[in-house]
Amino acid sequence: MDVEVALYSGRPNPVFRLRGAEREEASRRLGALVAVPDRSAPPGGLGYQGFRLRPASSDGSSDAGAWEVGDAGDEPTLAGSSIVEYAVGGGLVVARGADGGVRVSLDPGRELERWLAERSTRALTEQEIRLVEGSLASEEDPGSDFPR
């Protein structure tokens, strides 16, 4: 699966790919999330917002293809519609279905976000690593609104 580091508005964001054991681990973590039905998706904004996970396509772009969950389970769905994106940030994970549906889950301790941040360093510049680490260090409260 492809992971976009949500940092920029004008420039393209850094993107890296999870393969093999990393992909399996990400699928396992996503599958273990507990939804919070009464929680609405945060609005997001400018600056670091977390990570966006999408199925990797064969041509390397991030707008098509399958999750390729392998042994970890079935392709993820949301109310019967395939999930096209997970947004991970600020203690929440927002799954978006192909039909526009949204499911919000908690990411306690921002563990999934931190796990992704550790893997993102291979795609980031020193400055970008500092931005991500700085945001994770400054906003410790799990389940809070997305960082600004």
């Binding site: 976009e4 949500a6 940092l7 920029y8 508005s9 004008g10 420039r11 393209p12 964001n13 609005p43 997001g44 904004g45 400018l46 600056g47 917002q49 966006r52 991030s62 707008d63 096209v84 994106e85 978006r96 192909a98 526009g100 400055q127 600004r148």
Partner: protein
């Protein structure tokens, strides 16, 4: 700008033409809006072979409120036509092929029937005769979607309604259009970079360099007027995350500003979730440098890449 596809072939590439003149495009969309009962979101599944209909795509969001059906709409003809006026509307769309500002978008190496207009008209007549048993009522409608305002003593700029669905509803659109696409009101899926379209992209993430790139694409600084022929002349604002990134806002007809942070959804609120009444003072997160205001225009937005 409108892109029209005649859905007539099954194996070979369908004819596609682009209407470049904005007023012609608006008039066409208004005519479609007045016959909205004749339109569908997509080609009917059981349309079969022959002339099935015309797909009309708008490349900018000011036209979408006219359509009320999103940025893409389909006019079925023949057996699947939703009323007798469908053929008349189809003829009008085919007639645009004769306009000097219309260009045929044919891939290299693909041949189309020549001349194209008589061919399509004949196909339409055949399909209409075959489908003459069917019919539907027609409803009138339509509305103006833009206004012009005076800026300083002499300049005019144009504003259009906030239309986030045009940018957000489709995942592919959301991912591949950024703040510069939004400010330019040009959804061409290029994640546009100031200056890239004119061959001279910014070389540093500073107000001076990104502004230079936008001017190279054809923007003007505020109070450097554009003529009416450059409609729509949007008022936009550039801000900078020093040495890191750029961001743009566009003024909407509701009086607030809207923006599209990168691959995320277009919105009219800032980082504090407040409606943006002033891009100079709103919560912009790390985009701390306010560079100033610019006018976009039709020539500029067609150039962005």
């Amino acid at each position: 700008m409108l892109r029209i596809t005649a859905d007539v072939f099954s194996g070979r590439q369908n004819p596609v033409w682009t209407v470049g003149e904005e007023r012609t495009a608006r008039n066409t969309l208004r005519a479609l809006s007045e016959g909205s009962e004749l339109l569908t979101e997509d080609a009917p599944a059981r349309a079969g072979v022959g002339f099935r209909g015309l797909l009309v795509e708008s490349l900018s969001d000011e036209a979408a409120p006219d359509l009320r059906l999103g940025s893409t709409t389909y006019l079925p003809v023949g057996r699947e036509a939703r009323g007798p006026r469908a053929a008349e509307l189809a003829e009008r769309l085919i007639g645009l092929l004769d306009r000097v500002d219309t260009s045929l978008d044919t891939e290299e190496g693909v041949s189309l029937p020549e001349p194209l207009r008589p061919f399509l008209t004949t196909q339409l007549t055949t399909a209409t005769e075959e489908g003459s048993r069917s019919g539907a009522s027609i409803q009138e409608g339509g509305q103006e979607t833009s206004e012009s305002f005076t800026a300083a003593a002499t300049c005019y700029y144009d504003v259009t309604p906030f239309n986030p669905g045009f940018w957000n509803d489709d995942q592919n659109t959301r991912l591949h259009n950024n703040c510069y696409n939004y400010a330019s009101n040009w959804r061409n899926n290029t994640f546009a970079q100031p200056g890239r379209g004119c061959g001279n992209q910014y070389t540093a993430l500073t107000c001076a360099e990104v502004g230079r790139g936008a001017l190279c694409d054809g923007m003007h600084r505020r109070y450097d007027c554009f003529p009416d022929s450059e409609w729509p002349r949007h008022l936009v604002a550039l801000v900078i995350w020093p040495n890191t990134d750029f961001h743009w806002y566009r003024l909407q007809s509701e009086g607030y500003w809207a923006h599209k942070p990168g691959s995320t959804a277009a919105r009219n609120v800032d980082n504090s979730n407040r409606v943006i009444n002033n891009p100079e003072t709103c919560d912009r997160g790390p985009y701390t440098q306010f560079c100033g205001y610019f006018y976009g225009c039709h020539t500029q937005r067609q150039r962005i890449r």
